[in-house]
């Protein structure tokens, strides 16, 4: 499903293409002062603006679950979000809408730091390179151990987190990554056991059929 924003951008860009072609094939239009201004807008200002807005739109789209699922190697990871098991952490988050279903992967796999978003985008370009020109590891490995910061971004201060005494006892260790959240909540993307797991019949991640 193409968003209304994308449809609007496409309509504007098509109008701009028509204008650029008109001036290109009738360059005498630029002889007049108004034509010069129009040419400056349609050959310089508007194309640069369109490219900038398009880049922003693509970067926004790259956060979507559907975009992540467009790589075949991600399909089992998407399927693991439908495992019908309350101890399977990604599935619980996806199925109970604890995170946005539109940005499921990005929500947990970005760094919640000042330049975390930029870092994620650069890593995304690296993913594309490896997907087409390299070898994808099986299972896919993270670049670095999963940081508690990504969990605590949402869970720190939440009632379900604060009411667990153990969480309070080891809060400092969690904050410093001395103890990983995954030591207790380690049932994550068990992609090699998908066939043996019961599956929830809810919506497919990324809207795939």
């Amino acid at each position: 499903m193409i968003s209304y924003v994308d449809q609007g951008l496409a309509a504007i860009a098509i109008g701009l293409i028509a204008l650029v072609l008109l001036i290109g094939y009738r360059p005498s239009l630029t002889d007049a002062r108004g034509g010069k201004v129009l040419a400056f807008l349609s050959f310089f200002i508007l194309p640069v603006l369109a490219t900038w807005v398009g880049t922003s739109e693509h970067l926004q789209h790259s956060k979507s679950t559907g975009f992540c699922m467009s790589c075949h190697v991600m399909e089992p990871y998407g399927q693991s979000l439908r495992i019908d098991d309350p101890s399977h952490i990604p599935a619980v988050h996806y199925q109970n809408k604890l995170i946005s279903r539109d940005e499921t992967c990005y929500t947990c796999h970005t760094s919640y730091t000042m330049f975390g978003g930029v870092k994620s985008k650069l890593q995304g370009m690296k993913h594309v390179y490896i997907y087409y020109l390299g070898t994808v590891s099986d299972p896919i490995e993270l670049y670095e151990p999963y940081q508690n910061r990504e969990c605590l971004h949402c869970h720190d201060g939440s009632r379900s987190f604060e009411e667990q005494e153990l969480h309070l006892d080891i809060r400092g260790e969690l904050a410093s990554n001395e103890t990983s959240c995954l030591e207790c909540h380690g049932d994550i993307h068990d992609v090699h056991a998908l066939a043996d797991k019961p599956m929830w019949s809810g919506p497919e991640p990324g809207g795939a059929p």
């Binding site: 994308d6 630029t30 739109e57 975009f67």
Partner: protein
């Protein structure tokens, strides 16, 4: 530079810019890992070349 040369460059510039914009629009409707790469490397390059050619045309007149 003669008016004919300017017009010819404007025509070429318009082809480059419109081709680049067409590629950029097409990538908006395509959900694939390569969409952003196509947007920047193909669309962005064509638009960039067209813009630079236009700017060169008007300053070298």
């Amino acid at each position: 530079m003669s008016v004919e040369v300017l017009h010819r460059r404007l025509k070429l510039s318009s082809l480059l810019v419109s081709a680049g914009l067409a590629v950029e629009v097409a990538t908006l409707f395509w959900s694939h890992p390569l969409t952003f790469v196509a947007f920047i490397l193909v669309g962005g390059t064509l638009v960039g070349m067209g813009v630079l050619l236009y700017l060169y045309s008007i300053v070298s007149r």
